[in-house]
């Protein structure tokens, strides 16, 4: 890949998805886009770039999807799920004892491993949630990824990443070489296509938002804008969970970190947050991207 091609793809991805690649991510582009180029009958990255410059619409969508899809596995990083079991849910169960309902949003649900991991955690809580209304909304940018999440079918390789064997036996059904998550768990999750750059107010408010390993790809203004909009969709006593390499610190005061709980945040008092003027900068970019 020539430096010119790399620069073109960097700018193209930033304009079309908000993805903000640093100068040294050639390997990432090659590993994701070479297979895609070959599948489309192209000779390589150079020809792919030509087609993109020519405005090939399907290819534009495919490139954005290929670059924004993350590796994921069940109970990825473990710690957030410990937070969920030991801290988040016990507090919610207390706070919502009268209402008996909990709404959870996986904002980068990808191929379903994260929402299904949460569903398994909730199932394991058993009687504590009897009679509760549990809603898990899993969103992702990519339609292809959502279809996979909906089907809940995983390869033997995928079910061996992060998933304890007892849970595999308990919550999956084997069909030949693949494993499908039980209908009961599939029914706990609604899958929706969503670009975090676009308005998501229509999703309503949530008690818990998992937004892991997606904001790292965005530039600072976009991150701030998304945090501020996430803050409007979270209950005042709700929880935000970010990825291990992500933080709100230095970006926004709409959330505050919970001490000793890495990656876990609570919204600050909304009145205090509302009194501050909205942080600008990202709005024109959003408008420019709305046509995607």
């Amino acid at each position: 890949m020539t430096p010119t091609e790399y620069e073109y793809l960097r700018k193209f991805l930033k304009d079309n998805s908000g993805l903000d690649l640093s100068a040294d991510k050639q390997y990432l582009i090659e590993s994701r886009l070479l297979p895609l180029a070959r599948k489309a009958g192209l000779s390589g990255i150079a020809e792919l770039v030509q087609k993109l410059q020519g405005g090939a619409r399907q290819l534009i969508t495919d490139v954005v999807e290929a670059m924004t899809t993350n590796e994921t596995f069940f109970f990825r990083d473990k710690v957030p799920f410990d937070h969920f079991r030991e801290h988040i849910m016990p507090e919610i169960i207390k706070a919502r004892a009268a209402k008996r309902s909990v709404r959870i949003w996986c904002a980068a649900g990808s191929t379903g491993q994260e929402p299904y991991s949460l569903a398994m955690c909730l199932k394991e809580m058993g009687a504590a949630l009897t009679g509760w209304r549990v809603e898990i909304i899993a969103t992702d940018l990519s339609q292809e990824v959502l279809e996979k999440a909906k089907a809940g079918v995983y390869s033997q390789f995928e079910v061996q990443r992060g998933l304890p064997i007892q849970m595999l036996v308990k919550y999956f059904k084997q069909t030949g070489e693949t494993w499908q998550i039980n209908p009961e768990l599939r029914a706990m999750i609604q899958h929706r296509q969503l670009n975090l750059l676009h308005d998501f107010a229509q999703l309503g408010t949530f008690d818990v938002i998992f937004c892991r390993n997606v904001l790292i790809y965005f530039d600072q203004d976009t991150k701030i804008n998304i945090f501020n909009r996430l803050a409007r969709q979270i209950e005042p006593d709700g929880f935000l969970v970010l990825g291990a390499a992500e933080t709100v610190v230095g970006l926004t005061d709409t959330f505050r970190p919970i001490p000793e709980r890495r990656g876990l945040y609570k919204p600050n008092d909304p009145r205090a947050a509302a009194a501050k003027p909205a942080l600008g900068g990202a709005a024109p970019r959003l408008a420019a991207m709305a046509g995607r």
Binding site: F73, D77, K78, Q160, R161, G162, P164, I165, Q174, E177
Partner: protein, 128 residues
């Protein structure tokens, strides 16, 4: 350094497993069937056993039964690693005292994940 006994009748599989486990800082010993593995365990129990199922002389399931009855034999973490990839075999292994189960083929990520699962590795190491 933690110790792991790799039990498999294929020398190729043992070699691959050894390379992965040494990379995860285990001291590795090898046995080519359940009977030889049991002799090793009678001398000294390892921290972990990576265990094939189908082997000549004594299979992995029978070996596990004998090993679990040795003094201190409840301590080693047993991770099956076999081409037997159906629920019936998995359930049999778990009820027979296995801690985890790997369906072949495997790679470094799967071994690291499964060993972290049973507490033989810190979680962070499995994420690399």
């Amino acid at each position: 350094m933690k110790t792991c006994l790799v039990v498999d009748d294929s020398s190729v599989v043992r070699k691959i497993a050894r390379r992965i486990l040494e990379g995860l800082e285990f001291e590795v010993t090898e046995a080519e069937d359940g009977s030889k593995a049991l002799e090793i365990c009678q001398r000294q129990l390892p921290d972990a056993v990576l265990l094939d199922w189908n082997m000549p002389v004594m299979d992995g399931f029978e070996f596990m039964g004998h090993m679990r009855r040795l003094p201190g034999g409840d301590q080693p973490k047993v991770v099956f690693c076999t081409t037997e990839n159906n629920v019936a075999h998995i359930a049999q292994a778990l009820s027979g005292g296995a801690n985890e189960y790997i369906m072949k083929p495997f790679d470094k990520d799967i071994i690291a994940d499964k060993f972290a699962e049973v507490g033989l590795l810190p979680v962070g190491q499995a994420m690399v």
